[in-house]
Symmetry: C2
Subunit: 391 residues, 2 copies
C-alpha cells in the first residue's frame, strides 16, 4: 500500500488556517477586543430575496411526490440552469452554447479536479497567487513555473516575463485574487496568442468578473479572439451572489477545445459522470434565480454594496499615502505594507484590531504587500478605515 | 499539452446512459406505452417533513444578516453535523469520533477522489460491481483485479477467491449493489484479516446499510475488530433519506488508519481543503435533520415503504420460480434471467414495459443476471410484479 508522496511537498498549513489560529489566540488573550475581519475573502451579506424565494419553492417541491427530484438527469446540471448561464454570457455579447456549460459545486472543486483529465503538464502560475492553484499541482506532482506580478508590471504579469520552457497550462485570474488587478483585452489577447503558439491551455478564473466596473475591461476570456481554441473559464455564484456557503459554479469548455483530437469538454463530462453526482436540485434552482432579471438586479446591488466598501478602504489608503492596486474593479485591495507581511498582519491585528491577509501567503512576490477585502459590512469597513489612518 | 491517456481505456458509454437511450428510443416509437422504471437506483418518495422543515428554516436564515452563512468553517462539515453522524453510529454500538467523520456531497465523489491521496495501487474489485469503481481506477491507470461473485458463493466473494497478487485496495459494498447480497460479521472479519495481513486498505461502501433488516448482519465495517486499522467507510443520505438529488454523504477515516506513518484522515482532510469547499449550509442542516430522532423515524418509514416493494418483487419471482438474491436486506433484487442480460433487458422493456438493469453492465459475472430496484411507487411496483408473472 503506497500513498501519494507528493503530499509530503505541501507546506504544513493552509494560509487561512494559520490566520484563523493567530486570530483565535489573540481573541483568547483579549476577549473584549473588537476585531474586524477583512481577511478571508468571504461575503457577509445575506442571499437576496429572489434566491431565498427559489430556495423555499424548490424545498417545498422536494416534499411532494410530484415535485420531488432524485438524481440530476446529468452531472453537468439541469438544462434550464445551463441555458440560464449561457444567456447570462449572451447579455454581455459572449456566445456560449448551453452544452458548453457544466455546472459544479464551486470553482475550487473544478479548478483542482480539472487536472484529472490532463496528462503530466508543466504549469504556469502567476505569483502572487491563490494558494489552491499551487497546492493542487503539488498534489499532482506537476512541475510548477512562476511568472512574477510586481509593482513594476502592476501585478499583471505578461508572456514576456515567462522563461523559455514550453508550458502546458496557464492560470489566469482576472480580476485577480489577491491583487485586484484586471487585464485589459489587449493584455489577455497576448496570453491567448501565447497559448495558441505553445499549444497550451489557459485556465481562466473569472470568479470576480461581476466586480468589474469599467466597461472596457473584459469579464470573460471568451471576449478575446482565439480563446475558444485554448481556454476554459471557471465562473461561480460565490462572490457575485453570496453563494460561498451555498455552493454553485460552472465551467465553460468550448466545443472547439481539443488537443491531439480529444475534446476536453467530453473528457470532463465523462470525468464528472464517474466522480460527481451534480449540484443539489434546490441549489440549482437558487442559482437559476440569480440569473433571472430580478436576481441579477439584486446581485448587482449586493456588489454595489461591497464596491462602496472598497471605495471606503481605498479612500483611507489615499489619505494615508499608502500605495495599492485593486478596489475599483475588484473586491480586493492590495496594499504596499513596506515590511514583512506577517509582521504587518500581527501589527494590524494587535494594534488596529483588523484582520487582513499577508501577501507572503500568496507567494514570494506578495512579500511586502497585504490584502484587504471589501466583503465586510459598511459599519465595520468604515471603522476599519478610520483605524487604518489613525495614528 | 498532454491529456490523461487512461481515458482511452474507458468504455464508450456509461451503463445508465445506454439504458436511457434504449428507453427513449422505445418510448419515441411507442408513445402510449406505460413503461415502469425499476432500472437506475434512484429513489422516488419525497423528502420527509423533518427534512423539509430544516430546508425551509435554513433557507430563511440565509436571507437574514444574522443567520447568513458563508464558507463552511471547515470543508469537512459543520461540527453539529459531524457529531450527529457520530451519534448515529453510537446508536448501533459503533464508537466513532466526530473528528473522524468528514462530510461530503455524496459517496460517489469521495469513492472516486479518494485515490488522490494514494500512490500507485493494485485494486481489488468484486465482479459484478458498481461501474464507477472500475471507471475511477481506469482513469487513474491503477491495475484492477477482480474477485468473482456468482451463484456458487451467493454473490459474496471471499478472500479465498483472490489470486496470489498482493493487492493494496479492496472495495466492499454490503449490502451489495447490484446483487443485494449482504456479508455476515464472520465473512467481513475474513476480509479485515486479509487486509491486515496484506497491509491493504478496505473501501467500505455502506450506502445501503439502513436497508438491513436482520439484526445479526453488520451495518458498518467498524463492527468488526481490527477494521479501524485497515478500513474507510463511505456513508450517504442518498438511499437512507431520499437525498439522491439533495447530495450529502460522509466518510469515516479512523484515527488509527495510517500507512508508513502517514495518517489517511489528515491527508484526506488536506486534499479536501484544497479541492472542495464543503456541502451547502442548507443541505448540511437537512442532513442533520435526518439524524434527529424524528428524522430517523421518518427515514425508516421511507425504507419500510421501499422494503414492501422488494417483498412485492421477490414474491412475484417466487411465484414464477425465478432465482434471485437480495431484496430482504437491500433495495435491490438480483434475478437469474437465464439468457444474455441485454436481451432480457430488451425483452422486459418491449414485452412487459419494465425497465431494469442488465447484469452484464456490472461485469462479466453479472451476465445472465438482472437487477430490479425497490425504489418505485407501490402502485407501479405491484403492476410490474403482475407483469413479471403474467404469460
Amino acid at each position: 500500500m503506497t500513498l501519494n508522496k507528493n503530499f509530503n511537498n505541501l507546506k504544513q498549513s493552509y494560509l487561512f488556517v494559520e490566520i484563523a489560529k493567530r486570530v483565535e489566540a489573540y481573541k483568547a488573550a483579549n476577549p473584549d477586543a473588537d476585531v474586524i475581519r477583512l481577511g478571508i475573502g468571504d461575503v457577509t451579506r445575506p442571499l437576496t430575496p429572489a434566491v431565498i424565494d427559489a430556495l423555499h419553492k424548490a424545498s417545498a417541491e422536494m416534499g411532494t411526490p410530484d415535485g420531488f427530484r432524485g438524481y440530476s438527469p446529468d452531472s453537468a446540471g439541469y438544462p434550464w440552469l445551463r441555458e440560464a448561464i449561457a444567456d447570462y454570457y449572451a447579455q454581455s455579447g459572449v456566445k456560449i452554447n448551453a452544452g458548453e456549460v457544466q455546472v459544479n459545486d464551486g470553482a475550487k472543486s473544478d479548478l483542482g479536479n480539472f487536472f484529472d483529465i490532463l496528462g503530466e503538464v508543466k504549469v504556469l502560475v502567476p505569483d502572487p497567487v491563490y494558494p489552491a492553484y499551487v497546492d493542487t499541482n503539488i498534489m499532482f506532482g506537476n512541475p510548477i513555473f512562476y511568472v512574477a506580478g510586481n509593482e513594476a508590471n502592476g501585478f499583471l504579469p505578461m508572456p514576456s516575463g515567462v522563461g523559455s520552457t514550453r508550458l502546458d497550462v496557464i492560470y489566469i485570474c482576472s480580476p485577480n485574487n489577491p491583487t485586484g488587478a484586471v487585464y485589459s483585452k489587449e493584455q489577455l489577447a497576448e496570453w491567448v496568442d501565447y497559448a495558441l503558439d505553445n499549444n497550451a491551455l489557459i485556465l481562466f478564473d473569472a470568479a470576480y468578473a461581476e466586480f468589474i466596473s469599467e466597461p472596457s475591461l473584459p469579464k470573460s476570456i471568451f471576449e478575446i479572439d482565439g480563446a475558444r481554441k485554448c481556454a476554459v473559464e471557471f465562473g461561480t455564484f460565490s462572490k457575485m451572489a453570496g453563494f460561498t456557503g451555498t455552493r454553485c459554479g460552472w465551467v465553460i469548455i468550448p466545443d472547439e477545445l481539443e488537443y491531439g483530437g480529444a475534446k476536453l469538454g467530453k473528457m470532463w463530462y465523462r470525468r464528472q459522470s464517474v466522480k460527481f453526482n451534480g449540484v443539489p436540485y434546490i441549489i440549482q434552482r437558487a442559482a437559476e434565480a440569480v440569473m433571472s432579471a430580478q436576481g441579477l438586479k439584486e446581485a448587482r446591488e449586493l456588489i454595489a454594496y461591497y464596491r462602496e466598501n472598497a471605495k471606503t478602504i481605498t479612500s483611507a489608503l489615499d489619505k494615508a499615502g499608502i500605495k495599492y492596486t485593486g478596489g475599483k474593479n475588484s473586491p480586493y485591495v492590495w496594499l504596499k505594507c513596506g515590511r514583512p507581511s506577517w509582521d504587518y498582519f500581527d501589527y494590524l491585528l494587535t494594534e488596529k484590531n483588523i484582520v487582513g491577509t499577508p501577501g507572503a501567503g500568496f507567494g514570494v512576490n506578495g512579500e511586502g504587500w497585504f490584502r484587504l477585502t471589501a466583503f465586510g459590512t459598511h459599519g465595520n469597513t468604515i471603522k476599519a478605515a478610520e483605524r487604518l489612518v489613525s495614528q
